[in-house]
């Protein structure tokens, strides 16, 4: 695979229409007509990742971890199994590890080489996660990156960056906001933002702080 470059004629994508929507339609048309792709399966994939798999899943995991110390222990021992308890598993989350934020340590997840991201709990990654800007800078200037998100950490907090270079997928357990003692798991889950589970945000404080 490493040496089959398309020398001479340029990359084959240059054979297709330059406008992305037309290019994708041309590819899809050919693949469907060749019997290689089932259009109903395309719809199923889009529906799944638009409606069923997303950060609302990870928020359930975090809310349970905040509420149930025994569940948190199971997450620490084998996150893949513990997350599957809640019905979330599989593609791009086959091997899960959770990392916990504290006053002393803040975790931040990146994939410098591509776009590795824990699909079963967070869905498909946002544009910024896949951007050159984030991938280049997160490992080198984490406070600067966090500032782009409006996030400021105390000067004494140490940042622990996780570069997802293998098939291990990392989920950040953000700090539980103050003033949430009496909240139900459902109410807690509503406070868990996508970015808080990547490390570029905090969980939302009730009352909108």
């Amino acid at each position: 695979m490493a040496h089959d470059h398309d020398h001479g004629d340029g990359h084959p994508h240059a054979l297709l229409p330059p406008e992305p929507a037309l290019r994708v339609r041309a590819i899809e048309t050919l693949l469907v007509e060749k019997g290689l792709v089932d259009p109903a399966a395309i719809d199923a994939v889009i529906d799944t990742f638009s409606n069923r798999i997303g950060p609302q899943n990870g928020a359930r995991v975090v809310a349970r971890a905040w509420s149930d110390p025994a569940y948190l222990e199971r997450l620490r021992a084998d996150a893949t199994v513990a997350i599957a308890e809640l019905g979330f598993s599989g593609m791009q989350g086959e091997h899960m590890v959770v990392v916990e934020n504290s006053e002393a340590v803040h975790n931040l997840v990146v994939c410098t080489l591509c776009s590795c991201y824990p699909w079963p709990v967070l869905g498909v990654p946002p544009v910024w996660y896949k951007s050159s800007e984030y991938r280049a800078r997160a490992v080198r200037d984490p406070r600067g990156v966090l500032a782009d998100f409006g996030v400021t950490l105390p000067a004494e907090t140490k940042i622990r960056i996780w570069d997802s270079t293998a098939e291990i997928r990392y989920l950040v357990i953000p700090r539980r906001p103050a003033g949430t003692d009496g909240l139900s798991e459902d109410e807690l889950a509503a406070l868990v933002s996508r970015d808080s589970m990547i490390g570029t945000g905090f969980a939302i404080s009730p009352g909108g702080a």
């Binding site: 490493a2 590819i27 060749k34 290689l36 792709v37 399966a41 799944t48 800078r137 622990r160």
Partner: protein
Amino acid sequence: MDGVHDLGGLEGFGPVPVEADEPVFHHDWEGRMFATRLLMGFWRKWNIDAGRHSLERLPPADYLSMTYYEKWAASVVALSLAAGLITRDELVAGHPAAGAAKATPPVDADGFLSFLPKGRPSARDVNALPAFAVGDWVRTARHGHSGHTRLPRYLRDCEGEIVLHHGAHVFPDVAVTLTGEAPQHLYAVRFAARDLWGEDAEAGHSVTADLWESYLAPAR
């Protein structure tokens, strides 16, 4: 390979393009391309490593200027051509060649939905004992190679501490060639940010990456 995909630590890209209330897909065609490339993987003519490598081998200027799903489109075209699933003539014509055989039934919605919660785990049982244990200090390889590899450039020839042992996993540098899986022990290795970036980095910050055993040697 020393490609532009290996972005860790590069400077000059500017602020992160954060978008409030970002949709899952910005255009219909993005979702359709996401789905199409994902479903084409079910033919098993390539694996995740070959898929990644096809993205890495996009012309550098294209890699940096294309949007994510434009890259996926270029990748699925290159992979399908290389695998013989489509031909160049068909790509230009936009339709199957006259008399071209129709593929056996592709994965359908049920097939996709039943695969999704299982995925494709990369952990493997191996007889080899791990060479390192949590707490060991290791040095990463000085040199990479021109194929697909998962040792980022910014972590070459650096010393770090093993903080997790993940067991053995399919080795991407070999799996990309579609000739075997060659599983190896995989470790999370933690590097002090100051060792990577010098005095500009804050003391106490760290970067942890998952690295295969053959990328590592005992620390000097």
